[in-house]
Amino acid sequence: MLKIIFTAVLLCSSTATIAASGIVGVDEAAPIDAELGLRLPDGFKATVFADQIGRVRHIVAADNGWLYGALMRPQKGMGAVALRDADGDGVAEENIFFAKGLKGTGIGIYDGYLYYGTDVSILRWKLPENGEPQGTPELIAYGFAEKRQHAAKSFTFDGKGGLYVNVGAPSNACMEKMRTKGSPGMDPCPILEEFGGIWKFDASKQNQQQSKEGVRYATGIRNAVALDWNMRADSLYVVPHGRDQLGEFFPEYFTPEESAEMPSEEFHRVAEGADMGWPYSYYDHRKGERLVMPEYGGDGKTVSDRGQKPLMGFPGHWAPNDLLFLKSDAMPEGYRMGAFIGFHGSWNRAPFPQAGYRIAYVPMDAAGNVTDDWITFADGFAGVEKVMSPRDAKHRPMGLTEDANGALYVSSLMSGGRIWKITYEGK
């Protein structure tokens, strides 16, 4: 019975709410176009911009009309793809693979250059007028230790010469023994010296080493693949991945249901020097509190004073993979100033259905404050009603970008790789 009630609560919490700002999320009664593979609120239209382009992660649209995508695994030996829709029908008819021998997640444009993040470096090419960049890329930042877990170097720019790089912690909760039941958390966590934060670099200076020229801008971040600079509010925002396996390691404190729902995925505004609390604490959006991580003596109830509270908490394990603040005013009012967050979807909710697999939208004002509850902007990516095992999901939203005309793009690295173009067509 309790389980039924809990499931009902879960369902309610994931139902899109009508925000006071007047925007409405997807209509959960509306059908999902299986061929298109996503569902949007009324008035929005999507096309499959590109298909079968490989394991595409973050994407960026250039003013030259081309869209560039970083590939997590090389396609035809190349680590990036350039795409263009010259005739404007919403489908790219040109694709060029480039970045030989590379693979990565981060991609972005600043000051006439195309930047690219491998797991161990940030590179850049001069942005071409047309097509793919030429020549050998310049090395901007390096010296990131080569790790397997949480190695993706996503990044963003502040528009004033600063480059902000996510350096994920190669760890779940800084346990002495990696992901081993009963192993305590290390305090202080030595991982935080080199990982688990955002490092700032000069966007235009070559050969900066993380440990020398790199500045630790913020800490206590397990892995923020999703980060963006909000130009309106002139501030960094991140949505880190919360830790896994609470119930598996601490069944005395967390039921399987709680372990599926906890910890929250946290949406933070990040000032210089901020601490998001990992690994010492986590956020519980149901209680509105930061709690002590069980590896550090927590019991699922004890409040922690380590780490700042997030602006908002989402259900656990949804896996935020990109964050985007729009720059244009092409989208209807209410959608212009807030945060689009792509959740690629969970794996750590079994035996309950996996969740996430959507783009959420958080209404905000020009000063960067959250003004209302989040809504679901796009879903249906998984292609199945219930994802019992992550491999059953057909697509998972991975990267977000906006083009010069204000159209929104979403990437997925599943099923051969796909990018959608989303525009507002009005009612």
Partner: protein
């Protein structure tokens, strides 16, 4: 005499079946406790993050293949064996019997036909 032999044989068979069932139930329980959160209840894994266990060469070959993965985690992986973002911890703190039961479960489920293993298969591999 003949009849009692048949009865004995039947009892022996029944006994074997019961032991197999018990091993299977224990293996399943241990799999759910220690393995399923990453490799999933259906053995399907997580694309690019944690390997699926369905129809895997390691679970259809020599007894050591799965045992070594449990004992040593990702350190037991051969170079280029897999392309996964996560690391697997060692589960060497489990007993030989528990490891044998998990390995047996994996080798006899998820479309694997590797067959059961025993504690005696586990013990000598700890020192490797």
């Amino acid at each position: 005499m003949k009849a009692s032999k048949i009865v004995f044989a039947a009892l022996a068979l029944w006994g074997t079946g019961a032991v197999a069932q018990e091993t299977d139930a224990k293996g399943e329980g241990l799999y759910k406790e220690h393995c399923a959160s990453c490799h999933q209840y259906d053995g399907g894994g997580v694309p690019m993050l944690q390997p699926e266990l369905i129809g895997k060469p390691r679970a259809n070959g020599k007894p050591g293949g799965v045992i070594d993965m449990i004992l040593f985690g990702s350190d037991a992986m051969r170079e280029n064996e897999g392309d996964y973002g996560n690391e697997m911890p060692a589960f060497s703190h489990l007993t030989d019997l528990e490891i044998a039961q998990i390995a047996t479960y994996v080798r006899t489920h998820f479309e694997n036909r590797g067959g059961p293993v025993t504690s005696d298969d586990v013990k000598p591999r700890r020192a490797r």
